[in-house]
């Protein structure tokens, strides 16, 4: 079980609990605004972009090469950017805070 907090662009804070699947799926299933996950999680649409809170970045780690390539061309990318479809939910992510990029 991991508690994951999303902060949307209108500053709404939503804390969700997940046990499996990706962070994108958790967000989409709970209608977190700004996370669309159009491609269903294959790293092709970049509609699930989040900024990991800097103090939590060690927990998620940085993006792999292909994910990094996707982020490279997104205008809202910063050094803490991740595509949430590539973040698998596990105990290791418990307590992290993600700011929705869009």
């Amino acid at each position: 079980m991991a508690k994951i907090t999303f902060i949307t662009s209108d500053n709404e804070t939503i804390t969700l609990e997940g046990t499996s699947g990706s962070v994108m799926e958790l967000a989409v299933n709970n209608n977190v605004k700004g996370i669309d996950g159009d491609c269903g999680g294959v790293c092709s649409c970049a509609t699930c972009h989040v900024h990991v809170a800097p103090e939590d970045f060690a927990k998620t780690g940085g993006p792999e090469e292909l994910e990094n390539d996707m982020l490279e061309f997104d205008d809202l990318t910063n050094e803490y950017s991740r595509l949430s479809c590539q973040l698998q939910i596990s105990e290791a992510l418990d307590g992290i805070v993600l700011k929705v990029a869009k």
Partner: protein
Amino acid sequence: MKVSEFPDAFKKEREEKGYDSIEDQNDPAMMILGHKDVRKCAHQWQTFQSGAKPGRIVIPSEVNIRETRQIPFEVDPPEHKSYRNLLEAWFKRPLNEDYKNQLTTQIESIVDEVLNKDAIEVVGDFSLPLQSRALTLLLNIPYSEADLWISWGTHVFRSEDTALDADKANILYNYIDQEIDKAIENPSESLYSQLLNSKVNGKKLTKEEVKGVMILTFAGGRDTVINAVTNSIAYFSEHPNSLKALKENPAMINKAVEELVRYFTPLTQMGRVATKDAEVCEHAVKADSRIALNWASANRDERVFENPNEVVLDRKVNPHLSFGFGIHNCLGATHARQILRILLATLSKKVTSIDVLEAKENIEDLGNFKRKVGFDSLKVQFNK
């Protein structure tokens, strides 16, 4: 060659130099072939514009057959965003439960229909009606309207012998004009009425702007969806185990859709016009000349996709460009994805195998390149 095999037409040039030139009605375009270069150019909307003369970013160019600007894809920022915002919510409706149920009913009924026949010509008797009926949901208009579009045939905008046919295009344009006038007289819950009631940047949309959105809605999703559906049938005919795998593991359907869309890339390319002198692949691009973002080539780039010429139905990381890339990515992608997801679910539930009886490939003539993009006809038998 197997009917479901779609070769990579661009491999040699992509690997050797990364670009090539394509002639098109005295307005050549520099075709960009590598995954990274395509994405980079798609991202640079200031340098490579979409808001050029209407029809010019399409390849083959449509400047000689239309003047109406298609919205939002032939509009650049900052105006682009206002139009896109207006349309985005509407074009995401396919995610609604009710929409999904209606689409499922449509697709299940057409699959049931073909299961009871000995032979079916997939393009005209399956994919075309499927696409047309699904479009009534996207426009939110009566189902019966699809009959008219089906009667137009698969190529509303093209005739058999020419890629550009003004007379045929005019049938669509006149039809849309009439439908807009009807919607003004009798407002309804349709996309036409929705647009006529909308404002962008404080100004009501003009009839010409509404027409621009509607032409794009009709044109963008016609042959692309028809090809995606037909080609998927071809794939399953030669891979019956895949149907079985999807039936046993429906969670795989999403990945399968993305992979089929990558492999088939229904729209080969889309152009842009350079706003200033630029450089791509260490090659000069002159101001006011065209480039072409070749999605099909990018989707087979070995530097990005392992075994790019194989369909790997459960490919996990799949950054394909079949719906474009950047701010102009496909507005109809949600609708298209939903059609394909429901189609795969329905086929895997109801169909055991598909036998191909006859196939006539549709080969796109792109100057130095010949690319298989789909079928002119595909006769098959569906088996329960």
